[in-house]
Symmetry: C2
DNA sequence: CTAATTTGCACAATCGATGGTGCAATCACT
DNA sequence: AGTGATTGCACCATCGATTGTGCAAATTAG
């Protein structure tokens, strides 16, 4: 009604309807049948609620019921296709359950992660999906203490169910695809296949292991000095490329890049060097980005199955007592020049 | 202490310390000096709080004080570089103010937008940044009624302060850069410069206007039949390209693409056609993406200044009574093969 | 040594919604 | 009509924190 006014509460409606606040509450939260409220009473109150634009104060409800209707997703970063696509899928899924999605990022900083999760807990979130946490087990402890259901995604913990990408298999697929891509040209030599990026987290380790094993199997050479974990920053990765180029006068013909963020390091390098420098390289990137897929050299990519991972995670969340085990989800090898669809394709787009 | 236990409340600490709950509350929320609590009492309580891992129940606090410490950002979508980068910057800024960032997307659906904002209001969020809302004014009404400070970003409203990209200027820069890019080659003819993407929102209209004006000025031809607003979906855009190609047997040499999402439509088209189809095209895209910048044909991009927009928006939010006017932020023209830094570069990355 | 301050804290109402319990009125049935 | 079951709803404690108010005790002033 009046716009500057305070929001209507059940007490306002209680006065207006002549019913008690508890009756109003019951009607408006749907529990009125259980409470044997007359249908006509319910309709009266619902009418008033609508007319006065009543919306429940969810903080009050959450305080009383100690459940908030909030479902959290903790991400390392937003501006990355892998994680933002996860956020997109997550939101749709949570909304379809009638809950409210909360997506937060914590910058791969363990302290920030803890603080963020504590804040979420203070808002009595009902469930938490932990994606890419640097220390899932310490977050597990927090959730456990607060009695909050939680599932790890992307990076596994030992104490809670974890849904992760099969990084080892993915890395094997990617590595062998890179090697095979040279079959028509001059075969790739062991010293020409390098891995850049990643750090000492579970995903990177598995990818490195997959790279290593496959390289040894297929090219028969030890891979250790061809592995350059540069962390997750584009700049460090760029520096690694510069250093390599400085030393060797060229790039390796075969590149395994740990993630699209690291790939940006290669882009920065590219910006400093002419086209010819990249004439015969083949890149495999453990992440999918449609634009990267169409670069002037062959780019093989791994698309992690975020939909599949989230689906599994939601499934586990629904179970009463999910085992704290690791569930592997197979990623997919994407050949060069592929523009795939994503969660955006599901949203409607009507012209005004 | 005990892990399965309920969380400690001020009442628990009240018993443990021998002080009243109000004293505990004052100590823990920092207002204890105002309330003339003895320093030693404060220390005692702080010690207990730490030992028992007390964290305030923010729902209770929010209920009482009707302010939650939450600051919202409403986005159209997550998985888009422009908006996810905005989310990233937003989070950092909000955190630095000691508040809790809430990022939600509403899929460019007016109904969803309203519902989402109502939910946020029900959680008593303190401030709302509305980015890319299809109908900012209707959201304004909601916020107004709830007394929530709000600023529009990216798409302007008439009732609240709006910080938007200077789409007209940006489109002019982009259009003229596309045309000039042909100076060394055979000059571009009017019928060879097309605009694809966008729909009937403020941003698209301004971009189209900038495209139109510049094209007329520089190529001296009416531009109307070279404008194909295809909405924001990659698929519709792809179809537009297919239709054009079907009709003309080639693509236009000069392409103005409304956004990176529309650009993905071109990628899908590319996936269906050989390299040669794109041998001599020049693309201008109203969005910046580092991978797109290195595609096999020249890609000129507009980088919208998200940091600048958010900075201005936060500045306005801090003002007591900001005028409901439009603040234009200049975007930047990015030449081909540029890998720029973004918010990710600010996050630390230490190897474990 | 008494009066006026100041210090330090407890009390209790309150925010808005929930849900267990109890009670009157109505209905069914012998 | 009397007994028991059912219907329809009101009452009230409660969730955990905030905050205005009041009042002893300690301190200072005169």
């Amino acid at each position: 009604m009046r716009q500057g006014k305070k929001k209507a509460t059940i007490y306002d409606l209680s006065v207006l309807s002549g019913c008690s606040a508890s009756t109003v509450s019951a009607v408006l939260n749907g529990s009125w049948r259980k409470r044997r409220i007359k249908e006509s009473t319910a309709q009266l109150i619902q009418g008033l609620a609508e007319r006065h634009q009543y919306t429940a104060n969810l903080q009050a409800r959450g305080l009383r019921s100690s459940r908030s209707g909030l479902v959290g997703l903790l991400l390392p970063v937003h501006d990355n296709r892998y994680f933002s696509s996860m956020a997109q899928t997550f939101e749709a899924e949570v909304r379809s359950h009638g809950k409210c999605p909360i997506v937060v990022s914590a910058c791969r900083d363990p302290e920030e992660e803890r603080a963020t999760v504590e804040t979420l807990i203070s808002y009595s979130i009902d469930e938490l999906f932990i994606a890419g946490a640097t220390d899932p087990d310490s977050i597990h402890t927090l959730c456990e203490a607060a009695g909050i259901r939680h599932i790890n995604i992307d990076l596994p913990g030992t104490r809670a169910p974890s849904v992760i990408s099969d990084n080892y298999e993915g890395a094997r697929m990617l590595t062998s695809a890179i090697i095979e891509h040279f079959h028509s040209a001059e075969a790739l030599k062991p010293k020409e296949l390098f891995l850049f990026g990643g750090r000492n987290d579970h995903a990177s380790r598995e990818r490195i292991r997959g790279f290593r094993d496959t390289k040894i199997e297929m090219l028969g050479a030890d891979a250790d000095d061809c592995i350059q974990p540069t962390g997750y920053s584009p700049n460090m990765t760029q520096k690694a490329f510069e250093a390599f180029y400085e030393r060797e006068g060229k790039l390796p013909r075969g590149l395994f890049i740990n993630s699209s963020i690291n790939f940006e390091g290669l882009l920065r390098f590219m910006g400093q060097h002419p086209h010819e420098t990249f004439a015969d390289i083949v890149v495999g990137c453990y992440d999918y980005d449609p634009f990267a897929s169409f670069l002037p050299f062959p780019v093989l990519m791994i698309r992690q199955n975020t939909e599949g991972m989230l689906a599994k995670a939601f499934e586990l969340m629904a179970e009463t007592r999910p085992a704290p085990q690791i569930y592997l989800i197979q990623p997919e090898l994407i050949m060069p020049r592929m523009a795939l669809t994503g969660p955006l394709d599901d949203i409607k787009d009507i012209d005004g």
